[in-house]
């Protein structure tokens, strides 16, 4: 008999090669996220406390909750499992940026796969 406590956490994935993912447009806890880079350009996987994907350019530093290096053609994972997760008070958004500064968003270069779990 399957344990009812397993697999109940929503998993959200990017729909096709993408550079961003709105995981939850409201307050939530991020448990786990990973991204796979389909390009030969390195960058960052950034977790942003917002309900929508921000525009390219300077980010609000207080909203950058996670920032991890994403190698070229590689993968990176940020995990709080088994918990507790990371609280995003406004919403959970992840995106891939090729800017050398994690506080500036530059898209159009990196595309990839993003998968996140939240509760």
């Amino acid at each position: 008999m399957a344990n009812p406590y397993y697999g109940l956490t929503p998993v959200v994935t990017s729909a096709g090669a993408a550079n961003s993912l709105v995981v939850c447009a409201a307050r939530a806890m991020a448990l786990d996220v990973y991204a796979t880079n389909f390009t030969a350009t390195a960058g960052f996987l950034i977790g942003y406390n917002a309900t929508t994907v921000p525009a390219d350019g300077a980010l609000d530093p207080t909203l950058v909750i996670d920032c991890a290096v994403l190698p070229a053609s590689g993968t990176v994972r940020i995990s709080d499992q088994p918990g507790p997760g990371t609280n995003y008070s406004t919403g959970i958004v992840y995106f891939l940026s090729s800017n050398p500064n994690g506080y500036t968003k530059t898209t159009g270069v990196i595309t990839g796969f993003i998968r996140a779990k939240y509760e």
Partner: protein
């Protein structure tokens, strides 16, 4: 003594049914029956042809071609070509002659609502299946 009242040394001991209930609940939270499904010298593995939860998967590439290990939410191995993006649940790069592991342990597993399939693809992205260039071993652990 607390505030002049006597406190039982073990309040739960006074309620054997409650103690038993707590014991059962604790066991059910940690004892999960798992199954290991594996394949060798293959390009794909059908772990389960129905709803299931994966705890971890690992794969080793026996070829000189890099690619991706893709987890697909389907009851059967898809044909080569464009995949349905919404069904791609996992996608990680795998190096030539390399290994890769996706693990949710410790923690909640990943639920596949239609079926659990893993395969290698040598396409430029994980959203296209191109088999024939990568063969290896795939091993997955799922909740039964």
């Amino acid at each position: 003594m607390l505030g002049g009242y006597a406190i039982a040394s073990s309040p739960i001991a006074a309620f054997p049914d409650l103690a038993q209930l707590i014991s059962i609940a604790a066991q059910s939270a940690v004892n999960v029956t798992t199954a290991v499904v594996r394949t060798n010298w293959a390009s794909a593995l059908l772990v389960r042809a129905g709803n299931g939860t994966v705890l971890n998967v690992q794969a080793t590439n026996f070829s000189g071609n890099a690619g991706f290990l893709v987890g697909y939410n389907a009851p059967a191995i898809p044909a080569d070509g464009a995949l349905t993006p919404a069904l791609v649940v996992d996608c990680v790069p795998i190096a030539a002659y390399g290994s890769v592991r996706i693990s949710d342990q410790p923690g909640l597993g990943t639920n596949y609502t239609q079926g659990i399939v893993y395969f290698f693809t040598s396409a430029a992205t994980g959203y296209t299946k191109a088999s024939g260039n990568i063969a290896g071993s795939i091993r997955a652990v799922m909740v039964q």
